[in-house]
């Protein structure tokens, strides 16, 4: 580590100040003012207690590692983690409450400071706090606390080293995520990015004796590596072009401000190509981490990890890192002509593709995984459509309801010995002790399906879809997203109607649950055994304990309560999330939204907007938002009804319109046969993995075999040859070490004489030549 010299500190402050001053004229420009990204002003220093947020989880990591070392065999790791994370959440909450509207940094220690020539690369271990940071950290620490509590029960089969290992990685994950979200420079973000990738790898491969888990962990790591390469190159290019990695400096950078002003009038030809490439490279990183097409293939397989991990890392937090990256670097994305349109299209394609695959899966956790991919697609579409607010709002609501859905599925998996096949489970909600799971699952499904007005998922999804219709040229995206919303409603309630209602039936999975002695053994549901079609009569599913139920209830409540966020600050910022985004680097004041509103209100004064922007027409003669509330609302209900008809059970005097009387048989089977091979293809994920294998993995494998033999024959041969030469030399001169005293004396005397002769001849030759 290179220490910062005092001279350099002053140099830096003189560098920073003019930049801030210079950014002011840009902000004063009337055109730029309408569209400019939020300029970061003078960044002050924040309170040191903010450091607790990342470092408490790190402490948890260390403590759990120690527990593992001393062989702890209690629930102590869980309670340590829950306690530390709860304090971290409380700290985040007080960070939110004490935030006075201006961003600040908190310096932990000097990290990387390299000076070359007149340039210097500064990446300190410090944290940057603005409202975007706070928004993300609130749900990261909040959900982490809840899910750790859930895991305290869920992982109790593994109490001992595995338990410590799980919570150790859990703490490390939250630390890394904090570095990613709170880092004040791109290198910190990269550290956190790789850190969460590592934790994801460790936790997917938690059951390391199971080959499929190991393969899934490797797949996640390798696919992410492709994205990470893009991110790394993007970071290099940022430094090369803007000369800084620190957010505070980057977003007050004079060059960037100029580009944003150019971009706002559509003058992309004035922006150097190098600056435009940055966003495209960062975008690849975001696609990898957030599982977007074509890099989404790792996320469904990542469900091999324990369910709390799927809920926290692979649904709620880590996979939203890509959204965060784009939101954080939004000004950089704005100045790239093709980046945001690409993001919008890729997001949409991912949303549709994943939804079609999700429809045909039978493993409920995989269905949830594909729905995560699909919902992430919505978020990316939102980013690409210039509604960072919509994207961030969807991240938030999705975090709650998807965590809820995963945890409810996890409770089922835990209770039925790893059974996840929706054909083998039915009527779970009616079983004794499963009521809370049934109700909360219903709330989660309603949110994911986006039932109008009563779910928060509806509001956030609507905000993105509406934006597609008010943005000129993107209405196709809007329609695709509406179709996806209907599909989503269908496959979500397919799970609900198959697994949670209907005739009670349960076949256990193949996990051996011989742990009757554990904490809630007495709560075992002995009623389940009474049902006639039960295969293994000895199997007793056990209902979830208090920790699981409490967490599910809290999350269900939060999913509903998040509706209120849409109404806070609605007039000014389109909801609370909008007000959070407004004060951050992600803020972008979209001209389209303004104009759409004006057009709907009949006030035409916005028509003279920046060059290249045209006021879009209203949808169906209505304001876009109103129209979307109608269309997506009706679409969502339609999807649920379809699911109810084809998968719903018979009963309740026809209230359930379905006709299913057995777990494995439903009306859909007949419909699916009509579609020929298509359902099978969807079930096989459109053979994307096989295609990747054929065009990428197989040729690489052949190539690596060629290199292997080249290495073995040529390189090893050369190395062995060079290794052999000194030995050969040694065997030749070995006889000189005969052990005979006289021989040694002769050698020595002879050596002296010969050396003297050689030296004198050599020097005379050299002297003679000169």
């Amino acid at each position: 580590m290179i220490q910062l010299t005092p001279q350099l500190t002053t140099l830096l402050s003189t560098l920073t100040n003019p930049m801030v001053a210079l950014s002011d004229p840009a902000a004063a420009d009337p055109h730029a003012a309408a569209t400019t990204a939020h300029a970061v002003g003078e960044v002050g220093h924040g309170p040191a207690w903010v450091l607790l947020i990342p470092f408490l989880p790190l402490l948890g990591f260390v403590l759990n590692a120690i527990y593992a070392a001393i062989g702890n065999k209690s629930k102590l790791p869980a309670w340590t983690t829950v306690g530390l994370l709860a304090v971290a959440f409380a700290t985040t909450l007080s960070m939110f409450l004490s935030y006075d509207g201006s961003p600040y940094t908190v310096h932990a220690f000097d990290w990387i400071q390299v000076h070359f020539g007149d340039k210097s690369m500064i990446a300190d271990f410090s944290f940057y706090v603005d409202k975007l940071t706070i928004l993300w950290m609130l749900f990261v620490t909040g959900l982490a606390t809840l899910i750790a509590l859930y895991a305290s029960e869920y992982m109790s089969n593994d109490i001992g080293t595995g338990y410590c290992r799980f919570f150790s990685a859990f703490g490390l994950f939250v630390f890394s995520m904090s570095c990613l979200v709170m880092g004040d420079n791109l290198l910190m973000l990269y550290l956190g990015w790789e850190g969460v990738g590592l934790c994801s790898y460790l936790l997917i491969g938690y059951f390391y004796k199971k080959p499929s888990a190991v393969a899934a962990a490797k797949k996640a790591f390798i696919v992410n590596r492709i994205g990470d390469l893009g991110l790394a190159l993007g970071i290099y290019l940022t430094f090369v072009h803007f000369g800084t990695l620190e957010f505070a400096e980057l977003f007050s950078n004079e060059k960037l401000m100029g580009y944003v002003a150019d971009a706002s009038v559509g003058n992309f030809s004035a922006i150097p190509g190098q600056a435009q490439w940055i966003a495209l490279l960062l975008m690849i990183g975001a696609f990898g981490k957030s599982a977007q097409f074509p890099l989404y293939v790792w996320l469904p397989d990542a469900m091999e990890g324990p369910t709390p991990v799927s809920a926290l890392i692979h649904a709620a937090t880590m996979v939203t890192a890509g959204v965060y990256l784009i939101a954080r670097m939004y000004p950089v994305f704005l100045v790239s002509e093709f980046a945001l349109p690409t993001v919008a299209w890729i997001g949409t394609i991912t949303a549709v593709l994943a939804a079609t695959i999700g429809m045909a899966q039978f493993d409920i956790k995989r269905i949830m995984a594909y729905s995560t991919v699909s919902q992430l697609g919505y978020m990316f579409a939102g980013l690409g459509l210039l509604t960072t607010t919509g994207a961030a709002f969807h991240v938030l609501t999705h975090a709650f309801f998807k965590a809820l859905l995963f945890l409810a599925c996890g409770a089922v998996m835990h209770g039925f010995a790893g059974q996840l096949d929706l054909r083998k489970l039915s009527g779970v909600a009616w079983m004794k002790g499963w009521g809370i799971v049934g109700v909360t699952m219903l709330i989660g499904c309603m949110n994911l399906a986006g039932l109008p007005y009563i779910t928060s998922g509806f509001y956030s999804k609507d905000m993105i879809i509406a934006e597609a219709f008010v943005t000129p040229g993107y209405s196709i995206i809007g329609w695709l997203l509406i179709v996806t919303a209907i599909l989503t409603a269908y496959y979500t309630f397919r799970v609900y109607f198959r697994v949670f209602v209907g005739p009670q039936h349960a076949e256990p999975g193949n996990e051996h649950h011989d742990h009757d002695d554990h904490a809630h053994g007495e709560e075992h549901n002995h009623d389940a055994g009474q049902h006639g079609d039960h295969h293994s009569s000895g199997f007793h599913p056990h209902a979830p304990g208090w920790a699981v139920n409490v967490v599910l209830a809290v999350l269900a409540f939060a999913s509903i309560a998040a509706i209120s966020l849409a109404y806070i600050d609605k007039a000014e910022h389109h909801g609370w999330v909008g007000s959070m985004v407004h004060d951050s680097t992600a803020y972008f004041h979209s001209p389209y939204v303004e104009q759409a509103h004006h057009a709907a209100e009949g006030t035409a004064h916005a028509v003279d907007g920046p060059v290249g922007f045209k006021a879009p027409k209203a949808v169906f003669g209505m304001d876009a938002h109103t129209a979307m509330i109608l269309i997506t609302g009706i679409g969502g209900i339609f999807g649920v009804l379809v699911a109810a008809f084809f998968h719903g059970p018979k009963g309740w005097q026809g209230l359930f319109i379905g006709g299913r009387t057995e777990a494995a048989k439903c009306r859909m089977d007949a419909v699916a046969r009509r579609f020929g091979p298509i359902p099978k293809m969807a079930e096989n994920k459109w053979y994307v993995d096989e295609i990747y294998h054929a065009i990428l993995v197989a040729p690489l494998r052949v190539f690596s075999h060629v290199l292997h033999w080249l290495d073995k024959l040529l390189v090893d041969g050369l190395v062995n040859l060079f290794g052999f030469l000194p030995r050969l030399f040694a065997w030749v001169i070995r006889p000189s070490q005969s052990g005979v005293l006289q021989g040694y004396a002769v050698n020595m005397a002879g050596g002296v004489v010969i050396l003297l002769v050689v030296v004198i001849v050599v020097v005379l030759r050299a002297g003679g030549a000169a």
Partner: protein, 521 residues
């Protein structure tokens, strides 16, 4: 006279200690006898303390050489003392335990410690040398006790054979450099080193003077175990007890290098051309041959001690790169100062090699014989983890593995070689470091990767705790001295500063060809 005495206070203290231990070592009461090593230690610490207070040696070629060099000698000496204590006592005290009366006449335990201190005294006197006669006597005082120590270190036949070989070949080496010294005197009319330098600077180097210098350097090659005087090394190291081998690896080698540094300073290093042509060519050939021979022969050894002996030869070759590079310009940083690199590397080598020999001394075969074969250390990390890790760390350091002590030492040699323009030799040094990796890693693999297997029954811990402590301290130094490397490096740089007043023969124009040149040999 009193100024000279002020320079040799450490030697005087060591000499007094020597006289005391000669008596206490033979004392009838066992408690007093067993206190002998402690007295040695106190003497060494006192000598180190006195060395730090040594004033600059005005009028010599390296005025600040004494404090740094004598302190590292005393410190490595303390490590060696930990290793040596008990070597000859064991059999004697076992006899006493069996009820035999302690008979001072038949005991050699007093001499053993006394000879060790005598040898260190000689080494320190070499550092203080400002005269050829003094240097010769000091070098011989360093070596003569070691001949006896090798012989009495074990009761086995091989030690006597080693002692005899060492003595006769040592005499040959001493005769060689004494012959050189005589020629130097003949050429310059003085035995004072500063006087010789003055003579060379004003009159140029005559043929006989050059011849004397070359012969003297070749003779001193015996002390540092360099080609062509290296032949004795493996036999003697293997024949002596491991602690004594460790001492042989450090004490005579240091004496030889100090003597070479002092001798070379009389001709000086030219700012661009380096040493005078003949000397440069001689040292170049010696360095290249020494390291290559040492490493190549080490490759094919199964005996760890022989391997270490050849590695000791190779390390001498490495250090000669620093000698050729010279001290650079006054005020040059450490990495351009080859002499500083040699002084620092001597410390590094002393610590590392003591660590490895300490591991070998701390285990023994069940029949009481020394552990020597590579099979004996197989799986050491599992059977004796502390010793195993000491072996791994010290061996990695000898290999020059960053960021251990040996890496910094070797870095100094490389960088000074490059900055003085001896790229060819540095390439040879690099290739040799790679060859050396082979057998060092083999040693590490045996200790760390292999399982003890059958050898667990053949090797057991020897009853000397102090040897284990010596090993752990060595490994600790290898790791921890990194943190304090800066003061040590600065110390070496200060010690290696040539006196600004030194007349430099090499700065003069090349010598006129001497018609008698060919007749000189």
């Amino acid at each position: 006279m009193s100024e000279k005495l002020a320079l040799i206070v450490p030697e005087i203290l060591l000499f007094i200690t020597t006289c005391i231990v000669m008596i206490t070592g033979q004392w009838p009461q066992r408690a007093v006898r067993q206190f002998t090593p402690w007295i040695c230690g106190i003497g060494l610490i006192a000598a180190a303390g006195a060395a730090t207070a040594t004033p600059d040696a005005v009028g010599t070629l390296f005025p600040a050489l004494i404090p740094y060099t004598k302190v590292i000698i005393a410190m490595v000496g303390l490590l060696l003392l930990l290793l040596l204590s008990g070597t000859v006592d064991r059999d004697i005290e076992t006899d006493v335990d069996r009820g035999l009366k302690f008979n001072p006449i038949n005991s050699n335990r007093g001499e053993f410690y006394a000879f060790f201190l005598f040898s260190l005294t000689g080494l320190m006197l070499t550092v203080s040398a400002d005269d050829l006669i003094w240097m010769f006597l000091a070098l011989e005082l360093t070596s003569l006790p070691t001949y006896i120590m090798v012989t009495i270190s074990t009761k086995e036949h091989k030690s006597r054979e080693a002692g005899v070989k060492y003595f006769f070949l040592g005499a040959l080496g001493a005769a060689t450099f004494l012959y050189g010294f005589a020629m130097l005197y003949g050429a310059t009319g003085t035995t004072n080193l500063a006087g010789i330098a003055q003579h060379f600077a004003t009159n140029g180097i005559s043929s006989i003077g050059m011849m004397g210098m070359l012969v003297a350097l070749l003779g001193i090659c015996f002390k540092i175990a360099a080609f062509p005087m290296h032949f004795y090394t493996p036999d003697v190291y293997q024949g002596a007890a491991s602690p004594v081998s460790a001492m042989l690896a450090f004490v005579p080698k240091t004496a030889g290098f100090i003597a070479m540094i002092l001798l070379l300073a009389t001709v000086g290093w030219h700012a661009e051309l380096g040493l005078p042509g003949e000397i440069n060519a001689l040292l170049w050939i010696i360095a290249a041959f020494t390291m290559t021979l040492g490493n190549a022969l080490a490759l094919i050894q199964r005996s760890v001690k022989r391997m270490l002996a050849y590695s000791s030869i190779a390390h001498s070759g490495y250090m000669m790169v620093g000698l050729i590079a010279g001290p650079g310009q006054s005020g040059d940083p450490f990495w351009r100062n080859g002499i500083a690199a040699v002084l620092f590397y001597l410390l590094c080598y002393g610590v590392m090699t003591t660590g490895v020999f300490a591991v070998l001394s701390a285990i023994e075969k069940r029949n009481g014989q020394e552990a020597d074969d590579i099979d004996d250390i197989r799986g050491l990390c599992k059977s004796y983890p502390a010793l195993g890790w000491v072996l791994v760390i010290c061996t990695l350091s000898m290999l020059g593995f960053p960021p251990l002590l040996g890496f910094i030492g070797k870095f100094g040699l490389f960088s000074s070689g490059v900055s003085s323009g001896n790229i060819g030799l540095v390439v040879v040094l690099g290739i040799n470091s790679a060859i050396a990796a082979w057998y060092y890693l083999g040693l590490i693999a045996a200790a760390y990767l292999d399982s003890p297997g059958d050898s667990v029954s053949t090797v057991t811990a020897s009853p000397f705790v102090s040897r284990k402590i010596a090993g752990v301290i060595s490994a600790g130094c290898v790791v921890l001295l990194l943190v304090f490397a800066q003061p040590l490096i600065e110390g070496a740089r200060n010690a290696a500063a040539l006196s600004p007043a030194t007349p430099n023969a090499a700065d003069h124009a090349p010598l006129a060809p001497d018609p008698r040149h060919d007749e000189d040999h």
